[in-house]
Amino acid sequence: MSKLPPLTRLTGWGRTAASGASLLPVSTANIARSADMAPQRGALVRGLGRSYGDAAQNGGGLVMRLAGSAGEAMLDEAKHEVTVGGGVSIDDLLRVLVPRGFFVPVTPGTRFVTIGGAIASDIHGKNHHGEGSFGHHVRRISLLLADGSTAELSPTQRSDLFWATIGGMGLTGVVLEATIHVWPIETSRCIVDTTRAHDLDHILTMMEEGDHRYRYAVAWIDLMAKGRHLGRSILSRGDHATADQLTGPALDAPRAYSPRILVSVPPIVPISVVNRLSIKVFNELWFRKAPLYRTAELQTIPQYFHPLDMVGSWNRLYGPAGFVQYQILVPFGEEDALRRVIERLASSGAASFVTVLKRFGAANPAPLSFPAPGWTLTLDIPASTGGLSTMLHQLDHVVLDAGGRHYMAKDSHTTPQAIKRGYPRLAEWQAIRNQADPNGRWQSDLGRRLGLIT
């Protein structure tokens, strides 16, 4: 047995609650041997560290970074499927897929997530209302198990472990490779309609009545607006542009795709530059910049899907105290609870830089999958905001009483009791997990903090 590397301090994207772990770069060829070196605190694979809390941390244990190359991805253009390594990022995969006329089935707001992470968090995107979460589109998973063997999983082969791995936060094993469905696209542009909503009722009604006409839909809420403006929003909906919708220079290179990081935040930002004032100003400008109504605007994939990725390491803007993301689900029919949460947040003055509202469609069979029919609200708030923790604990009650839950990939504050209430199938997942990993090889800080593993 070789020696483990010394402890490295790791955090999630929100840069809170650090822990130290032995960080080891691995490849699919040597990962089974490396995982065997895990101390009693177990092993975990970490992708690009975009989970906001402690999902990709394993204090005192082994954390492995799985290398992956999109160049080895195998695209089956006839079946609309790609087979790709678990360590490959959506960023790298899109560079291969888009020029060949395909697009990932689901993308979150950043392209810097790995395929393994996308499966472990069962990520969702702007197309959830019609096309579901990432897990809906996974055809097959090659999973490294605790005993060092590799299992082939699919919705028909060992389906219980397949669905426990989707949304399983990396605690069932390591995704070595996956085959996923991909969408054919004619161009690398998106065609986008934008509408302003003057209050919460207006935005909810517009989304209920019109989302189904669009493939992608999401609303940005100005949480700094109060009173009769409460819930004022910008609704942005669209689809991939077809070849005949292109105009101007896009016509010359219909599938050109070259996403860039325009500027990066330096490693040390001594204080948070994201504060009440800057957030208020940003939100006001953002709202006013949006047109009352604009149709068929052509945008690039990075502009439409990954606008924040244009600023590298933007999480550093929050300074050393970091920030939390609060993402919750409230089922349809419980709009009053959603309203109470938004009212409470708006009146507290808790400043959220980016607040997003999205309608979810059907759930998938995964016991720990987050999305289910209902509304999901997402906020980013500086962790140093006074009284924030108490307020979030109170909001948890509103959400859970309404039958809602928390998105674990974003969570960094809630409790095991809240997870148990929000995910009634937790025990079922634990039974499958414990059968696949009886000695607790796979562990994480999130798993311990939220009582997923014991």
């Binding site: 929100g14 609650a17 130290g20 772990a21 204090g59 005192g60 923790s389 604990h393 960094s412």
Partner: protein
Amino acid sequence: MQNAFGEPQTILLLGGTSDIGLAIVGQLVSPTCRSIVLACRNPDAAKAHVDTLGSDGITVTAVAFDAEAYGTHAELIADVVAKVGDLDVVVMAFGVLGEQSDYDNDPVAAAKAVSINYTGSVSVGIAVAAQLRQQGHGRLVVLSSVAGERVRKTNFVYGSSKAGLDGFAQGLGDALEGTGAKVLIVRPGFVHSAMTHGMKAAPFATTPDKVGEAAVAGLRRGRRTVWAPGILRYVFILLRHVPGPIFRRLPLG
């Protein structure tokens, strides 16, 4: 695991009946908290605090802890971990003050005070640090004192034990750098508490609750040292450099 706001799920208080220790623990209680362990010489003495701190979802237990029984410390920490899991926050708040005039004529009593305040802290502090390093996270809060910052003639046995403790905690904090575990040193001035009952208060006297607030704020902000009240940081920058002949004449109590 503590959450993003530094709210711990588990707390161990070494010195389970210490006013300052209990004030810190009381302010760390949140909906995140699930286990509190009060470790003190006589667990029965902590009974009232077990009842006060306990509530829905929080289990409070009292366990026996003898600062001078060095041989038991590693086992004590292992037992607590077996009971509650990872230690998120450990508060080291035990110690004795005593009267300098008594120590002047009793070398055994003086050595015993140092053995509790300093040697006992080193022993249990090492055991705690080993656990925090092994789990890759956790905070150790060490109750130091301004008495150790520049030791005065009126309480130099106590002051020197705190000076040693403070140095130990600084070195330990540096040694844990990068492991995910951290040490917070709390340096209070004169605190109105059971320990100082009947004594004449020194300037900038404070209360256990105020020290608790300063310690919890320090934890939230990831500080290495906090002073209570904060002004003492600057007072002692001056006092540290006052020449001996003048320092000896200062009416510092």
